[in-house]
């Protein structure tokens, strides 16, 4: 594996390889707090065309925990704002000798283009491309689900996971739906029809417009952020109505099975898709997801550039 661009390129064995590596890394670094010498002398470039403090910091920390040199390149205030194309930026980074480029871009397919256009020798890791994919977030979520619901298991058979809300604008939802499908979980996507993408009936999931009916059968519920910044039309009448119909509040959380966990990829709109009370409850694993995102990013970096792919 040279690049990590989409979960749809992963097999079940490949997914488990990343999750198992992350599990060991979590163990040897005490949840990512210790520094390992593994990537000493290698350069990881974070190429961020979109603002994302959380993801950028997580990737920076993951690379630094493995002793890589980290260069962060934000589109704002760089040559990109002077009109440099993706290609020229890539050629520049390649000339500087980047071993890995972690790219976040508003256009779907940007990471794929970067990896396969022949501009680079580096590995490319997709850190979110438009509404398309965000594979390390889904891998982190799979790690969290596995730790809580199926420790050490080789698949997620028998698990039912609800993904609720703005699936249309969410690359996290898309990556999660496909990755959970690869692992054999049953996925139920719940949201207003206006926030579900066209063609979702062909995805490995069931679709529902009503949340309440499914609550008792969910082993985990993932609440998605209402992405106001990507909405240039009216998708629902009001925030209040959205949160009444699809928001996770105390009453709904009580309908979940006792073992069920509450997840959110962050950042949260408290009071819209999830109430503060539920977000801070014992069922919530939201801060754990942040730590697990870090260890799967370390695992992905180690597997992509820790060895030498040209020596087979």
């Amino acid at each position: 594996m040279k690049h990590l661009l989409s979960v749809q390129e992963l097999s079940r064995a490949g997914t488990l390889r990343i999750l198992d590596t992350a599990l060991e890394l979590n163990q040897v670094t005490d949840g990512g707090t210790k520094i390992l010498p593994t990537l000493r002398g290698r350069t990881v470039v974070n190429l961020f065309y979109e603002d994302s403090t959380r993801t950028r910091i997580s990737f920076e920390r993951a690379a630094k925990r493995l002793s890589a040199d980290v260069v962060t390149f934000s589109a704002k205030g760089s040559s990109v704002s002077k009109g440099e194309s993706l290609k020229d930026t890539a050629l520049t980074l390649n000339a500087m000798g980047a071993d890995m480029i972690v790219v976040r871009h508003p256009s779907p397919g940007a990471a794929h283009r970067l990896a396969h256009a022949g501009w680079l020798e580096s590995s490319v890791l997709n850190a979110g491309d438009g509404k398309h994919e965000h594979p390390t977030q889904a891998l982190g979520d799979a790690f969290t689900l596995r730790a809580h619901l199926r420790p050490g298991a080789k698949d997620f058979a028998g698990l039912t996971i609800g993904i609720v809300g703005d699936v249309l604008h969410s690359r996290v939802a898309r990556s999660n739906i496909f990755l959970l499908g690869i692992l054999g979980a049953k996925v139920i996507v719940i949201g207003p029809p206006t926030l579900l993408p066209v063609g979702i009936e062909n995805w490995p999931c069931e679709v529902s417009y009503s949340l309440d009916a499914y609550l008792p059968e969910l082993d985990a519920i993932m609440m998605l952020r209402v992405q106001q910044e990507r909405m240039n039309g009216t998708f629902f009448p009001s925030e209040l109505e959205y949160s009444r119909t699809f928001g996770l509040n105390r009453k709904r959380a009580r309908e979940l099975p006792e073992h069920a966990i509450v997840m959110h990829p962050g950042p949260m709109n408290r009071g819209v898709e999830i109430t503060a009370e539920v977000a801070d409850s014992a069922q919530s694993v939201i801060t754990e997801q942040v730590v697990n995102g870090l260890v799967v990013r370390m695992a992905s970096m180690y597997l992509l550039i820790g060895g030498n792919v040209s020596v087979a």
Binding site: R17, D20, T21, E24, L25, Q27, V28, K34, L36, P37, T38, L66, Y302, L303, L304, I305, G306, G307, N308, V309, V311, A312
Partner: protein
């Protein structure tokens, strides 16, 4: 293992297997190593045995059992994966990580006995010494190996050796342990190029 099989890529090479130790030999070696450890280490209650995966781990457990049989005390055993600390990572594809599980009492101030199956270049042991730094500061670190096959690339020497096997570089020493390979034996595989 059959006595010979042609290599997959080069039809012109032959592999010969020569068994140099059987289950009896291996269990005698481990009993002797246990006696040497007990004789050499002043305070046996302070010993922690750490195996290097994969085969170092079951060997470490057997060594600990032998010491228990002699001294009637329990010896903590752990495992330490050194992959992330190797200096030759860039010379092969990245491999999956093995388990690192240190005993609950930790390694600070202990007499740590590192255990591996074969001592060759010494790079694994160097990586293990680095890895151990991350987890604590043992009072003493010693090295026990089942086979020392020579060809050291670093100034590292074992304290306890099951068997010295002078080998050539085109030979491969394979230690098989029943917990993993369902048989106890040590085999030298030699590949000879046929003209």
């Amino acid at each position: 293992m059959s006595e010979s099989s042609p290599g997959a890529s080069a039809g012109s090479s032959r592999t010969n297997n020569r068994m140099v130790a059987d289950p009896e030999d291996i269990s005698r070696m481990l009993r002797r190593l246990a006696h040497q450890v007990v004789e050499n280490v002043k305070d046996v209650t302070n010993i922690v045995i750490i195996g290097i995966p994969t085969r170092g781990v079951p060997i470490a457990e057997r060594l600990a059992k032998n010491i228990r049989d002699i001294e009637k005390i329990s010896i903590p055993v752990g495992s330490l994966d050194v992959t992330l600390f190797r200096d030759d990572l860039q010379m092969r594809p990245s491999k999956a990580l093995e388990q690192t599980r240190l005993p609950a009492g930790g390694i600070d101030g202990k007499t740590v006995i590192l255990v591996d199956d074969v001592l060759f270049s010494g790079r694994t042991i160097r990586a293990a010494l680095d890895a151990m730094n991350e987890y604590g500061r043992p009072a003493v670190v010693q090295l026990a190996v089942l086979v020392d096959r020579g060809h050291r690339e670093l100034p590292i020497r074992p304290d306890y050796v099951g068997k010295n096997l002078p080998t050539s570089l085109n030979e491969k020493v394979s230690v098989q342990i029943s917990e993993i390979d369902s048989v106890d034996q040590i085999v030298i595989q030699s590949t000879t190029e046929q003209l």
